[in-house]
């Protein structure tokens, strides 16, 4: 039997449903159909797997696909390594008074926007940029180190824009860790490393997993940082999708690659959750 729902329920649910249907479900269905459309030699549009097959036929696509996956996973791990001590420091070491202020400072790059921070990195990393000029001034190097337009600068850019999305969920997970657990472990003879790996990280695992998913999705689907900060050889799968849509104007091919990317990212997240024994429901909460 249907429960009678009042008007406010519909008032809330209708915009959500409209949003989901028109901006998510329908475009995806449309793209999904178009990813199977292929223009044959006679100029007719037919349904075929050709768009997907071309992915396997050309090694450059394969290579970019794997490269993107590898870098996305690595940068996500890197984001964890870099941000975990910061999150720990902000939740467990610094007094509450300062920690909210410092968290606010961390948010500033987000306010500025990705593009501006990327231009900021260009100023820092360029051949005549701040870092090279400074090193030359100090006499440590004679000729500039090439940092911009390499994989290195691309990694820096991706890491920088995604870091914060790791810090926030990890901080909230650490916040609920009882300090006396750390003291108890230390009392029982555990070193700092053991405390981190046996007590703190297992406790923060749901936060780390949800942060990891967000960061991974942001990185694997990012276009700006690889495009601007990466060099000619810093291929990223989104760039290829972009090229199909806007350079070669082959929307069907682009759509097929888009779905491949979606499957790749979903597959990796599923695998990681399985390996770490996390449940998606728990991570989401």
């Amino acid at each position: 039997m249907m429960k009678k729902r009042n008007i406010s329920f519909y008032l809330f649910i209708v915009p959500v449903l409209l949003w989901l249907i028109f901006l998510l479900v329908l475009p995806h269905i449309d793209l999904f159909i178009s990813s199977f459309q292929f223009e044959n030699d006679a100029g007719e549009t037919v349904l075929s797997f050709n768009n997907y097959m071309s992915f396997f036929e050309d090694s450059i696509y394969w290579y970019t696909f794997l490269r993107t996956a590898f870098y996305s996973i690595s940068i996500t791990l890197l984001a964890f390594v870099v941000t975990f001590p910061i999150a720990f420091y902000l939740t467990k070491v610094v007094s509450r008074k300062y920690s909210s202020f410092m968290t606010l400072l961390l948010l500033i790059p987000i306010w500025v926007g990705e593009l501006v921070t990327i231009y900021g990195w260009m100023v820092l990393l360029g051949d005549h940029g701040v870092i090279n000029s400074f090193l030359i001034y100090l006499g440590i190097i004679d000729t500039p180190i090439v940092m911009l337009y390499t994989d290195f600068s691309m990694i820096i850019g991706l890491l920088y824009m995604s870091m914060l999305f790791m810090i926030v969920p990890v901080m909230s997970a650490l916040d609920s860790l009882d300090d006396s657990l750390i003291e108890a472990a230390s009392d029982l003879g555990a070193s700092k490393w053991t405390i981190a790996t046996r007590i703190v990280i297992p406790h923060a695992m749901p936060g780390i997993a949800s942060g990891g998913i967000i960061v991974f999705m942001l990185i694997i689907g990012d276009y700006v940082a690889p495009n601007i900060l990466g060099g000619k050889s810093s291929l990223w799968f989104t760039e290829q999708i972009y090229n199909f849509f806007l350079t070669t104007i082959d929307w069907s091919q682009g759509a097929a690659f888009g779905f491949l990317l979606l499957m790749l990212s979903s597959g990796i997240i599923w695998a990681v959750l399985k390996i770490t024994g996390q449940k998606l429901e728990r991570v989401g909460s």
Binding site: S186, D187, G189, A190
Partner: protein, 352 residues
């Protein structure tokens, strides 16, 4: 007996206040030593200094003849049972207990045997694979104690571990803890604000107030001969009175109750009388007993612990009196006038 712990002139200053001031004490090997005091008296800070989580401002802590200055908590031969127990929720019972052993260079098989032995000793065999969140309060308690004791510490520190339990279980655990300590023989230092816990379990009790030790004594002495007004008021039940004057061997309370008390060489300001010190309907031949008339206000029935609340007719002071454990006063009722005697020795007088 050898002293396992020696605390010398220990102080801890925080910005703006002194948590522990010039505390001195010795703990005997194998003893059950309690530190009893109201919340905020500095007992937790003292315990945290012994365990190494707080650094002392002054003084020294010596365990088995070795100064603990600068030694981090993980290197000290003491273990602590935390107030909230601090069991690791991400591990099962067995792993919780094995945690400390795994930090040392001990073979896996020996860890397994020692964990098994310890769990048997605290009566938790069969619970090895249970998650600690599935246990009852008393079981969690025992896991926390087992987790520390399995390391064979010189001293086990317990920070009000019974505080979170309900009353019935607390009474039970009190006895269990004392028996466990006797059986294992490890030195326990137990801090609590519950005087009954301290009195029941301990060989020696230190009463702490405002960062200082007021008295270190056996539970019996503490109860019978409190050395300071604070101890008299804090340990056990007492009827407190403020003293206005002491002249010609007579004490006068601020409400005007006059009591003879010989041979005081000072003018006291406080007087304490235990509820059981009052003698109902005393016979006339008792020496050094002063008798006053009181009016029964209410009867506070509590089984073996029944008391009456009575008003001293002379001064309107209200006192609590324990009823003797016989049927003699069963028909006592509100409004009755009773004769009450107090022996001079039971008048505990103090000067602030």
């Amino acid at each position: 007996m050898e002293h396992i712990l020696e605390v010398k002139d220990l102080s801890k200053y925080f910005v703006g206040f002194t948590a522990v001031q010039s505390v001195d004490f010795l703990v005997e090997e194998g003893g059950f030593f309690s530190i009893l005091g109201p919340s905020g008296c500095g007992k937790t800070t003292l315990l945290r200094m012994i365990s190494g989580f707080e650094e002392e401002s002054e003084g020294d802590i010596i365990i088995r003849g070795e100064s603990m200055k600068g030694i981090p908590p993980e290197k000290r031969p003491v273990n602590i049972v935390f107030q909230n127990l601090a069991l690791f929720p991400m591990m099962n019972v067995e792993k919780n207990v094995a945690f400390g052993l795994q930090r040392q260079k001990i073979s896996k098989s020996e860890i397994a045997t020692r964990v098994k032995e310890m769990l048997e000793r605290v009566g938790l065999q069969g619970f090895e694979k249970k998650n600690v969140t599935e246990l009852s309060g008393g079981q969690r308690q025992r896991v926390a104690i087992a987790r520390s004791l399995v390391l064979k510490p010189s001293i086990l520190l317990l920070d009000e571990p019974l505080g979170a339990l309900d009353r019935k279980l607390r009474e039970h655990m009190k006895i269990e803890l004392k028996l466990l300590q006797k059986e294992i023989g490890t030195t326990f230092i137990y801090i609590t604000h519950d005087q009954s816990e301290a009195l029941v379990m301990s060989d020696k009790v230190a009463v702490m107030n405002k960062g200082r030790f007021e008295q270190i004594d056996t539970p019996q002495n503490l109860y019978k001969n409190p050395k300071t007004a604070f101890v008299a008021g804090f340990v056990g039940e007492s009827n407190p009175f403020d003293i206005k004057s002491y002249e010609n061997g007579v004490l006068t309370t601020t409400n005007g109750w006059e009591l003879p008390k010989q041979n005081l060489d000072y003018v006291p300001t406080k007087l304490f009388i235990r509820p059981e010190a009052f003698i109902l309907n005393p016979t006339d031949d008792l020496e050094n007993v002063d008798v006053v008339d009181m009016k029964v206000k209410t009867i506070l029935f509590d089984g073996a612990n029944t008391k009456i609340s009575a008003t001293i007719i002379q001064s309107k002071d209200v006192v609590l009196i324990s009823l003797p454990q016989n049927a003699q006063f069963e028909d006592l009722k509100e409004g009755d006038i009773v004769k009450v005697g107090i022996h001079q020795d039971d008048l505990k007088c103090y000067k602030d």
